[in-house]
């Protein structure tokens, strides 16, 4: 059986390691000392698993250990800044080195072909695993960032007693509007505010859907007995809204947060006075 030929690689472990590290250096994905330890461990475990292999490698428990190890290695290499390409090269150079040793060991071409075929199947499977491990690492990062973004995206600020402001940055879609509205209404209750300022300076474009969401938010605020001012309407947004034909006449809108605040002060009958020098 071809397994015996692959198992024979174990006796040539040291030579295989030498050839492999040479190939790694040539491919430029060598990492010096840390890697040498890793490579030794991997080669030893892998070759032992080969030597005891009996039947399909997919069913072998020994190979599960090897696969765990290679996933661990590729994750740690990923953290050390290796690209997925270099991670794959780590394994393909190992395959190359093994093939080279095999061709020296086996003289019969039919047997050599069978041994290489088996080796290919095993290592290709591991290469796919390293890619999957890399992707999983990336997906973890992305989902963490999504959570973080949705958490920081809707702060409600109390700017004065009775006045809350909510700066909106980015695109307002249905799910985001829901969060914004909930936060704003809750904050109006919590602080007993009578005026809410919705600042849309950071919203890149106001289309009819965004406008509809804004109108709904304003209506909900009014139902709570508070007044809502929309600020941060840039000139280009104003013109676009007019061309689109969106009717915002029932809503108090201001160009800047400062003028919205001034309006809010007026509504609360507050005046800001410059202190006179005596």
């Amino acid at each position: 059986m071809q397994n015996n030929f692959l198992g024979g690689l174990k006796e040539h472990e040291n030579r295989l390691l030498t050839v492999w590290s040479q190939l790694l250096i040539e491919s430029g994905s060598d990492d010096g000392a840390v890697e040498e330890e890793e490579s030794k461990e991997f080669a030893s475990l892998f070759l032992s698993a080969l030597a005891t292999l009996n039947g399909r490698f997919q069913d072998s428990q020994e190979f599960e250990k090897v696969e765990d190890l290679i996933v661990g290695i590729s994750t740690s290499r990923g953290k050390r800044g290796f690209s997925p390409r270099e991670n794959a090269q780590y394994l393909t150079t190992f395959k190359q080195a093994s093939s080279q040793i095999l061709s020296e060991l086996i003289t019969d071409s039919e047997n050599l072909y069978q041994a290489n075929l088996e080796l290919n199947a095993i290592i290709d499977n591991m290469t796919i695993m390293t890619f999957e491990a890399f992707m999983r690492g990336r997906e973890d990062i992305i989902s963490r960032q999504v959570d973080e973004i949705s958490e920081i995206s809707t702060p409600v600020i109390t700017v004065w007693e009775g006045i809350v402001a909510l700066p909106i940055i980015g695109t307002l879609d249905s799910s985001r509007t829901q969060i914004v509205m909930e936060n704003l209404l809750q904050q109006i209750v919590d602080t007993g505010s009578s005026i809410a300022i919705l600042d849309i300076s950071g919203v890149p474009a106001v289309d009819s859907l965004v406008a509809q969401h804004l109108i709904k938010t304003v209506s909900a605020t009014r139902l709570m007995g508070a007044e809502c001012i929309i600020s941060g309407i840039r000139p280009e947004i104003a013109q676009t809204v007019v061309h689109l034909g969106i009717d915002l006449t029932g809503i108090i809108t201001k160009a800047s947060l400062a003028s919205a605040l001034k309006t809010a002060f007026d509504m609360l009958q507050l005046t800001v006075v410059k202190r006179k020098l005596v």
Binding site: P204, A205, L209, A211, Q212, E236, Q239, T240
Partner: protein
Amino acid sequence: MTTITNSKEEALIIREQDVVPLRNRVKEYGVKIGMSILNQTKLITATSELVRNLLKYGGGGKVIIESVSNGRDNGVRVTFIDNGPGIADLSLAMKDGYSTGKSLGLGLPGTKRLVNEFDIKTELGNGTTVTITKWKNG
């Protein structure tokens, strides 16, 4: 008047998450030909309207962004293609305030006012194709 396409790309739109990247691509096309902030905003707002229609009524589809030139002026052309149910009454759909989906009903007529060229082809059961062009100095 003949128009020449300088560069072109396609994007598949299947989820709401595809809207923002598409808008950014369209904006980049506008920036590349030196479009003013006002026209850029008009263009991306129009794109935003149509791509939402594409998702909501057409069930997703394909968007083609082109950088075009007619000899005197450069512009951006965006084509929205879906295989949805089509629009039953086009003249009604182009009217302000008409909507079958509880929205403001400004998408199609509003978009037409935002761009320089607006073309819509629809057939019941065979989807809708909308093409808009915004010229740099239009």
